[in-house]
Amino acid sequence: MTGRDRLCFAAAIGLIVVAGFVQSWNTAFAILNFALISAILSLGINIQWGYAGLFNIGAAGFVALGGFAVVIVSVPPVEEAWRAGGVRVLLALLIGLATVLTAIFVWGRLRPGRIRTISVVALLCTGLWVYRWLFDPAVSAIESVNPAGTGFLGGLGLPVLLAWPVGGLLAAAAAFVIGKIALGLRSDYLAIATLGIAEVIIALLKHEDWLTRGVKNVAGLPRPVPYEVDLQRTDWFANLANRLDVELAGFSSIFVKLCYTAILLAVLISLLILCERALKSPWGRMMRAIRENETAAEAMGKDVKRRHLHVFMLGSAVCGIAGAMVTTLDGQFTPAAYQPLRFTFLIWVMVIVGGSGNNWGAVLGGIVIWFFWIEVETLGHLLLDAATVWMSPDSPVRLHLMDSAAHMRNLTMGLVLLLVMRFRPRGIIPER
């Protein structure tokens, strides 16, 4: 890190401090926490794009899988639903999986021709029929168990922090499957394929109510930090607030956010250390060599496809971890919130603006872009207010513009991306 880079980081933190003084410290810490998660997400995409030149625009899907991990790990199991159809659903899924694997096996074993096509199609049809026969009744049984309160299988009831690595594993597993299919295609085809897989994952999480409650959301997820109300009741905390001479309720909410900040910072720093070491190791040099010239790297005996698959899984796993963190911080799982513009393209803006190929750049981009993503609405409102101050306060143009300040986000982010691509294509902290 050069002196200039440190200055950039100081400026980014300074922005959040200013928000603390101008708005409130509660807001500032909320921005900081999500900025830290954004930095992790941006590291994940940087691993794929910056190190290896892999074009993944399915981040939203992997983030959603991370969020789903929080549900299956931390929510207590719904016993009645399990009795109603849990085993049957699992059996159906196993049969579905077995069908697909057998079909792939048969496809590989038989010689091309009519017999192969017919047998594989017949196999798939039978498998599908058995699967639906087991699956459908079980699902409606599970969903009819107290639909207003639960209506799904629930999770394992384990500590919520365990969901973070599980989220990473789930995302890596999904990345393995999609990578096997789509890696090795030209870059824009890979992009289209990853966009597709993200849509499919999000559609599954939205509509498989027996598993995730779908758009009914799972609220009240357990937290790794104490609740504000409980804090306010304890003596030491009341004493602390007294000694600092601050208002108890507000302080408890800031204190909880600070706890989160500590955990998030710990994860971010360990990931950053790992990434820095990886990038500076022979492995990192090999990845960059592959990125620069695949043919030359292959000639040197590197297994490009395998390396790509690994780095794709690694980056997606980081996205999955970040996704689990988002859901933990929110305290609820809302599948409808996984918009590609917010969870994929915004992350790309972060990586490009920060500096692709440089871990520090990606982290800086994550923090800065997140700050502006949140504050553009406020700033846009002020700006439009100032620009239209000469109009009468009830002029329709002025009212419409003030209303639409909320939609300035995408416009601003797009402009930032275009300007950086044009005038500083290597980002704020370029690759070294």
Binding site: I181, R186, H407, L411, M413
Partner: protein, 336 residues
């Protein structure tokens, strides 16, 4: 066994919607594939440019309606359509001039173009939301049906109705006319041939004196026009909502890739193929089958392969299958 009723139900729920949705996808995919053929990158801003086209048509229609102008049984939007086409072409030409041209000059890698198109996508998306807002707008007027389900029933005496909406008719007619014009232009005119030559072999085309900037501008003009028409027709037939256009990106790309990126005939075939698969796989065939089977064998289930929530999964799966088995697409595009 009742063949006629089955056919009517099938046409009502699969054939007619499939043809109109397929026409919309084909027009969208043609735009994507033309840009790909000439500029050689996948344009992610396409969906939001369609939204822009739709938006201009909505405003045009509102203005005309406020003037009391209409087309009688046809939707007023048809008068606003030329205006919308011009506005969209203006937008894409401006974007090309301000943004893409620079990267052509510095001979940037193709991936840069794709990332830049993300930026354009975000900007156009923001513009549309800023101007018209994120909510849905209805702007179809005039006669709703060419043949309504009830008219069809009383006309033929069948149990099943077959509705044919005006917007569906307009979509199909407009798509067929536009495609015929496009293929005539590409295959018969000198300018069209120069465009294909440039797409096939850039260096040879340059050698024979074809002006690349002219070809690129022409490509944007045609693609912009098609984009506007696709956006307006989709909004007219379904509903105008900025967000849905972003979601259309996936089926449109799927159509273009399935047919073969860069190949206009492929884009048309891909559009209809994706549309019919999407509708056919998510349609519950119970009604159709029950008309065909004797009463005793009546089907109990819905006979639906996949519920409608997963229609985007269909285009994705088609995309994956084609990429795995035949990466250049059914009609040999110019991938690889």
């Amino acid at each position: 066994m009742d063949f006629l009723n089955a056919a009517a139900a099938f046409a009502n729920f699969v054939l007619v919607p499939g043809f109109s949705y397929g026409s919309q996808l084909a027009l969208g995919a043609l735009g994507v594939t033309l840009v790909y053929a000439v500029l050689r990158f996948a344009n992610f801003a396409h969906g939001d440019t369609m939204a822009f086209g739709g938006m201009t048509a909505v405003f045009g229609t509102w203005w005309l309606q406020s003037r009391g102008i209409d087309l009688g049984p046809l939707p007023t939007t048809l008068i606003a359509l030329p205006f919308s086409i011009v506005a969209t072409i203006g937008l894409v030409l401006l974007v090309d001039r301000l943004i893409y041209r620079h990267y052509r000059r510095v001979k940037a890698p193709l991936v840069t173009f794709v990332i830049v198109s993300f930026g354009v996508m975000l900007v156009v998306n923001g513009l549309v939301r800023l101007i018209i807002g994120p909510d849905q707008q209805r702007f179809a007027d005039g006669e709703r049906f060419i043949v309504s389900a009830r008219e069809f029933k009383s006309l033929t005496g069948l149990q099943e109705g077959l509705a044919f909406k005006t917007t569906q008719g307009i979509t199909i007619v407009a798509a067929v006319v536009l495609m015929a014009m496009l293929f005539w232009f590409l295959n018969r005119t000198r300018t069209g041939k120069s465009m294909r030559a440039y797409s096939d072999n850039e260096d040879l085309a340059l050698l024979s004196g074809i002006n690349p900037e002219k070809v690129v501008a022409l490509c944007w003009i045609i693609a912009g026009g098609l984009t506007a028409v696709a956006g307006v027709l989709y909004g007219l037939d379904k509903i105008f909502k900025p967000f849905t256009y972003f979601q259309l990106l996936l089926p449109i790309f799927a159509a273009a890739v399935v047919g073969g990126m860069g190949n206009p005939i492929g884009a048309v075939a891909g559009g209809y193929l994706v549309a019919f698969s999407e509708i056919g796989i998510t349609y519950a065939f119970k009604k159709v089958v029950n008309h065909l089977l004797p009463q005793a064998w009546e089907a109990q289930g819905l006979l639906q392969l996949l519920s409608t929530e997963y229609k985007f999964a269909v285009s994705f799966v088609m995309l994956v299958i084609v990429l795995l088995l035949r990466p250049t697409g059914l009609f040999r595009g110019r991938a690889f």
